[in-house]
């Protein structure tokens, strides 16, 4: 196998492609973590509270890994989070939607749809030849395995009875179209593939994702609102997120999470050593 290249050694076109790939990875992780933390203290049981908190912190940690890679391309945390225009965020709409109070089926199903996608995405990224993309994959995947198991166990449990299954079905009807936005190619898609930044195309990964998701959900007695053969673009929601067009929920969330930074008039971010990791 050829030795891995460093991000810093990519040519201009490759760098732009890598940036585009990294922004999507980082932003999805960052925003889903932000949403998951909404369940802290209000999850159904103390145990589920602890579990979802762990997952939120893992995802935030992964966001930081990808933000650090973007750091190699010259971005600071200030540019990446605190002073970035909400319209410049590249996450999918799946991760930015708010939760309805008490709708535990939503974070569980959303987590499942996201974790399966994450797994495939990491596979694809591990097939690249860029060190900053390949190196973090092993550790991230070891954590994602637990996330997936957590989501699957809960889905099985919730689908045990009719009332729970109806709640999960309603979450699926609402969320699956938004999950498809994870696979919408951006303008850099072909450059990402031709620069060898991922081992599989988005299209191929989407098909695998839908196969996996559909067969598991159907085994629980759920209906997935589209078939693998369907044209996915016909099922997409009005905004897909990764092109910068988000639902109205995103600017509000961004406004809330940057409030302290703005109110205190901060202009920089200090990294902590070892804390919270």
């Amino acid at each position: 196998m050829a030795p891995l290249r460093a991000l810093a050694d990519l040519d201009d076109e490759e760098r732009a492609a890598a940036e585009s790939l990294l922004f999507r990875l980082a932003d999805d992780e960052f925003v889903i973590a932000e949403r998951y933390t909404e369940w802290q203290v209000v999850a159904p049981t103390l145990e589920s509270d602890l579990a979802l908190s762990n997952i939120a912190q893992d995802e935030l940690g992964h966001a930081r890994v990808w933000f650090d890679a973007l750091g190699e391309l010259g971005y600071s945390e200030r540019d990446l989070v605190w002073e970035r225009d909400p319209g410049a965020f590249r996450h999918s709409t799946l991760v930015e939607l708010p939760f309805a109070e008490g709708d535990w089926a939503d974070p569980i199903l959303r987590g499942y749809l996201y974790d399966v996608a994450e797994d495939l995405r990491l596979d694809a990224v591990a097939g690249s030849d860029v060190r900053e993309l390949v190196d973090p994959v092993e550790k991230i995947r070891s954590e994602e395995e637990y996330h997936l198991e957590h989501a699957q166990n809960w889905l099985e449990r919730l689908c045990d009875d009719d009332a729970g299954r109806e709640r999960v079905q309603s979450a699926a009807d609402r969320l699956v179209p938004h999950a498809l936005t994870l696979w919408v190619p951006g303008p850099a898609a072909s450059a990402i593939d031709s620069s060898g930044l991922r081992g599989e195309s988005l299209d191929a990964t989407r098909r695998q994702w839908l196969d996996t998701v559909a067969s598991f959900l159907e085994s629980l007695g759920l209906t997935v609102p589209l078939d693998p053969g369907d044209d996915p673009t016909e099922s997409l929601p009005d905004s897909v997120g990764s092109d910068g067009n988000h639902t109205d929920h995103w600017p509000r969330l961004h406004d809330e999470l940057t409030e302290t930074y703005r109110e205190l008039g901060r202009s920089d971010v200090r990294r902590l050593r070892g804390e919270g990791t």
């Binding site: 802290q40 198991e149 709640r167």
Partner: protein
């Protein structure tokens, strides 16, 4: 075991699940543990919004981890309480939702600004550390065991709180001003953390006799003042003139002038009748009610949710 035997044997980690403890002991220990566990939950509820409001990614991670730790502490303490056989965890969590469960005075106040966060995460947690260190000597062994883990984690929380305070205290003038304003507002509440002076504390004598408490409120408060007033000054905070705190000739704190503190407010809080506290109790109760359908769908064997045991040891 009768009460006289309990009193004669009372000492650190003297009694446990295998002992047949008298009702009076079990109720006193349950009351303490339930109060402590409730306080962990309500403290987490108060701090939760600051996960979102954290002004850096690292800080957000640390805040999320802290809130998670508090929930984990609640879990440990309810378990230690359940072992006394007086109430189940669900009963205690329901009492908290109904407004019948008691918890620390400081967690009955609203917290809206970032500059207030060190008031809880540094001063209140620091005060809690003083009390909790003594609880490692509790005669109820499950309580003492829980405190080993809790004290270890609280050490990190206080550092996290101190770090936020240091950042504000060395920040812009506006940040320094906001920090001082938060301190002025919270200082009397922090002084009341240890409750009224001993002669007005009703439960102390029995709890001390059976080894559930090893220090008085006054001793703990003075220890706290001796450690934390210098720390507050180090970060440039001015101690308000009132409530007056008195030192002896060696400069050691020995008294807070009780008349300078608002005890009507304190006792309203103690009865869960303070409006801001009620909002928090009700807000949490509404959130708890909204996920009752999930708990109802769980079997007894799996009451925490699927995979609960696997995740309970998480960081």
């Amino acid at each position: 075991m009768d009460i006289e035997t309990v009193k004669a044997r009372a000492g650190p980690r003297e009694f446990g699940r295998a002992d047949d403890m008298p009702e009076e002991y079990r109720e006193a220990a349950t009351r303490m543990l339930q109060f402590h566990a409730n306080s962990e939950i309500m403290g987490a509820y108060l701090e939760k919004p600051f996960i979102r409001q954290s002004p850096s990614v690292d800080r957000k991670l640390a805040f999320s981890a802290k809130v998670q730790d508090e929930i984990g502490h609640g879990q440990l303490l309810y378990r230690a309480a359940e072992a006394l056989g007086v109430k189940t965890r669900e009963e205690m969590l329901d009492e908290l939702a109904r407004g019948d469960g008691k918890f620390l005075n400081c967690f009955h106040y609203e917290m809206t600004d970032w500059a207030e966060t060190p008031m809880i995460a540094f001063f209140v947690d620091g005060a809690a550390m003083k009390r909790q260190a003594t609880l490692k000597q509790s005669s109820w062994t499950p309580y003492a065991h829980a405190m080993d883990k809790i004290c270890f984690e609280e050490g990190f929380h206080v550092k996290h709180g101190e770090d936020i305070m240091r950042e504000l205290a060395t920040g812009s003038r506006k940040e320094q001003r906001l920090l001082q304003e938060a301190f002025d507002e919270w200082w009397p509440r922090i002084l009341q953390f240890f409750g009224p002076t001993d002669d007005r504390s009703t439960h102390h004598d029995f709890a001390a006799d059976v080894g559930l408490k090893t220090m008085t409120n006054d001793e703990l408060r003075n220890q706290f003042l001796n450690a934390y007033v210098p720390k507050a000054r180090k970060y440039g905070l001015e101690i308000p003139d009132e409530p007056r705190i008195r030192t002896d000739e060696d400069g050691e704190y020995y008294e807070v002038v009780e008349a300078d503190l608002d005890w009507d407010e304190f006792f309203a809080i103690a009865k869960n009748e303070y409006p801001e506290g009620l909002d928090q109790i009700d807000g949490r109760a509404t959130a708890r009610e909204a996920v009752a359908w999930v708990r109802d769908s769980l079997t007894e064997a799996d009451a925490g949710g699927p995979g609960a045991t696997a995740s309970a040891g998480g960081d």
